[in-house]
């Protein structure tokens, strides 16, 4: 891919709740380059979750421009946006979001279903990625047979299975104890070393401190580093 993975310029997002406009993002400019390792820090209500939804193509900005994988999100239809999420982005959620009653292997293979990859190849790729995250011995286990740390590693394997350029992780260690959280973070860092850009949304400053770059959000704006007019970070 040419150019940065994600470029946000003056992005705003306003929710309409019962006719009242609630601004969640009030003008955010941000670039996620290939191979970045970025932490987004902020208290609850700072707009960091909204930002992550936008960066991941789950939502469209109200104003400003947002380019993901070289494509302007505002001009894309819902199916095109879905395809963009499938190809460019990998999501890791705080609560894992694995399908119950579905094996680790089939959970990991899920994004490939929507890419139209055949069953045999899906299963092979999923198995390889589970091996990569250290769960080669657990491929036929269901989520309720796995520990929290293992579930999150399955979720990471799923995020990686399509070969995305950016991994968006929303409080990936939020539901884990410190030891398993540390293991998950190391795993993410080893992936970063392999060339995947990582955006880590967290309110934990220790976790954020491990990133190469850190931005702090408050009230829908980036407050640190301080915004420079027309500047792009």
């Amino acid at each position: 891919m040419t150019g940065p993975a994600i470029v946000a310029t003056g992005v705003t997002r306003t929710y309409e709740l019962d006719g009242v406009s609630v601004p969640a993002l009030r003008g955010v400019s941000l670039t996620v380059a290939d191979g970045d390792y970025l932490a987004v820090v902020g208290t609850s209500g700072s707009g960091k979750s909204t930002l992550m939804h936008l960066l991941g193509g789950l939502d469209r900005p109200t104003g400003g421009t947002l380019v993901i994988g070289g494509r302007d999100v505002t001009s894309l239809s819902a199916p095109e946006l879905a395809r963009l999420r499938n190809e460019v982005i990998g999501f890791v959620f705080q609560s894992f979001h694995l399908l119950p009653r579905t094996t680790a292997r089939d959970n990991v293979a899920l994004p490939l279903v929507y890419r139209g990859v055949g069953r045999r190849e899906r299963r092979a790729r999923a198995a390889a990625l589970l091996e990569r995250v250290g769960l080669g011995h657990r491929i036929d286990h269901r989520p309720n047979q796995l520990s929290g740390g293992e579930q999150q590693r399955v979720a990471i394997a799923r995020a990686l299975v399509t070969g995305p350029s950016v991994l968006l992780a929303d409080e990936p260690t939020g539901n884990l104890d410190s030891a398993t959280g540390e293991a998950v973070l190391s795993l993410l860092e080893s992936l970063h070393a392999d060339g995947v850009a990582i955006v880590l949304v967290t309110h934990d400053s220790e976790v954020a401190a491990r990133a190469h770059r850190r931005i702090v959000m408050r009230d829908g704006l980036i407050v640190d580093p301080a915004p420079t007019p027309g500047g792009d970070r």
């Binding site: 199916p79 879905a82 499938n86 979001h97 279903v113 890419r115």
Partner: protein, 394 residues
């Protein structure tokens, strides 16, 4: 997403909620089973009646007093044997004219009795209608002319009275009067709901004496050729009209009887199928309802699928196929149940049933359509869910 994959996902979802899926299906199962069984019974009855009317013989013309139309009161017959002679002259052949005077009578042989349908007839009956003898001989013209007390028994009556013994030459009493058995009919079974094996044929003259009447109930004519059957009917009605100025007469052909019966049965079958169809519709509403519940329950799953790249139509397809799978599985089970019920009715009751391929195809098509129609709204709702909102749902 590939279609095969979507089917698999839908099947998995149904398996995950096995009891709920089965209960939801039950509505469709019952609806389809009812449609198949009721249409089979309607069709079977219609076929049976057609066979029986045709089995009476071809080119039959039946003459009865009164007008043959819906709502008319059956008239008391004023016909007598003299009228039969007049009609025979119109037809030009006495052997083509049959008469009946009928009455239910107790028939006794030794210590055994049975209640049977006494038919006073001419010797022409086996020629006009299709009746074949098992043993002995039929009435002769001389028997009719002299009012001889001889009888030909239906197979059922013969068995009732004589068991395995040969009844020919034995004495019976009909309404207390002695008759001699000269023949028995072959077994015929039911016809238009009447047990034809329960008949006892005696000369019409003897029957009139027994019943104390000089009337006959009706006439049947086997027309010499098919083309002139309506003309002949009109001639006969005109002749009888001259002889009985106060009475109306009607002549009907088998085609007319079949047409009227067919219309009535067609309407009945249609009404039954429509009622069954309503239950299928109710089943469809149940499917719609459960699918909406299912979409709500799996909002998080929908959000996740969308996050990893499912398009709205992928999600919609998944839920639509789930609904279609529910109803088509229900449809197949319903067809099996309906066929089973129809066969059981056919076997265990006098009501006949005939499974028709079109009713099976229709039931299956309708159940699949019900799935699509009632699955569309839940599927669209699932497909349009905002992934951000869906992921947040607990």
């Amino acid at each position: 997403m590939r279609l095969a994959e979507a089917w698999r996902v839908a099947l998995d979802a149904l398996r995950a909620n096995r009891l709920r899926s089965i209960l939801t299906m039950l509505g469709v199962v019952i609806g389809v089973a009812a449609v198949v069984a009721l249409v089979a019974i309607g069709t079977g009855t219609k076929q049976q009646i057609e066979q029986q009317v045709e089995g009476l013989g071809s080119n039959l013309l039946i003459v009865v007093p009164g007008r043959l139309e819906a709502g008319s009161v059956p008239s008391v017959s004023t016909l007598s044997l003299d009228d039969v002679d007049a009609v025979s002259r119109v037809v030009g052949d006495r052997s083509r004219v049959a008469v009946t005077v009928a009455s239910g009578e107790t028939v006794r042989a030794g210590s055994r009795t049975t209640f049977s349908s006494l038919q006073g007839v001419l010797e022409t009956t086996p020629t006009v209608f299709v009746r074949t003898l098992d043993r002995g001989s039929y009435l002769t013209r001389a028997d009719v002319g002299t009012g001889r007390r001889v009888a030909v028994l239906g197979a059922g009556v013969a068995t009732q009275l004589f068991g395995d013994r040969d009844p020919i030459g034995r004495q019976i009493t009909i309404g207390g009067v002695r008759f001699r058995v000269i023949g028995t009919f072959e077994r015929l079974g039911q016809s238009l709901g009447v047990d034809r094996d329960n008949e006892v044929h005696v000369p019409v003259t003897a029957a009139q004496r027994l019943l104390g009447t000089d009337r006959i109930d009706g006439l049947a004519i086997r027309a010499p050729d098919r083309e002139r059957i309506d003309e002949l009917g009109a001639d006969i009605v005109a002749t009888l009209g001259e002889r009985h100025p106060d009475t109306d007469f009607s002549a009907v052909t088998q085609e007319q009887i079949l047409g009227v019966l067919g219309d009535i049965l067609g309407v009945l079958t249609g009404v039954l199928a429509a009622i069954a169809g309503i239950s299928l519709l109710v089943g469809g509403v149940g499917v719609s309802n459960i699918m909406l519940v299912s979409v709500r329950e799996r909002t998080r799953e929908i959000g996740l699928r969308k996050a990893v790249g499912a398009r709205p139509r992928d999600i919609g397809l998944q839920f639509l196929l789930e609904a279609v799978l529910l109803t088509t599985l229900g449809g197949v089970l319903g067809m099996a149940l309906g066929i089973g019920a129809a066969l059981l009715v056919d076997r265990l009751t006098p009501v006949p049933a005939a499974i028709t391929w079109w009713s099976l195809a229709l039931a299956f098509g309708v159940s699949a359509t019900v799935g699509i129609v009632f699955g569309v709204v839940p599927a669209q709702r699932a497909g349009r869910l905002d992934p951000v909102v869906a992921l947040r749902t607990e």
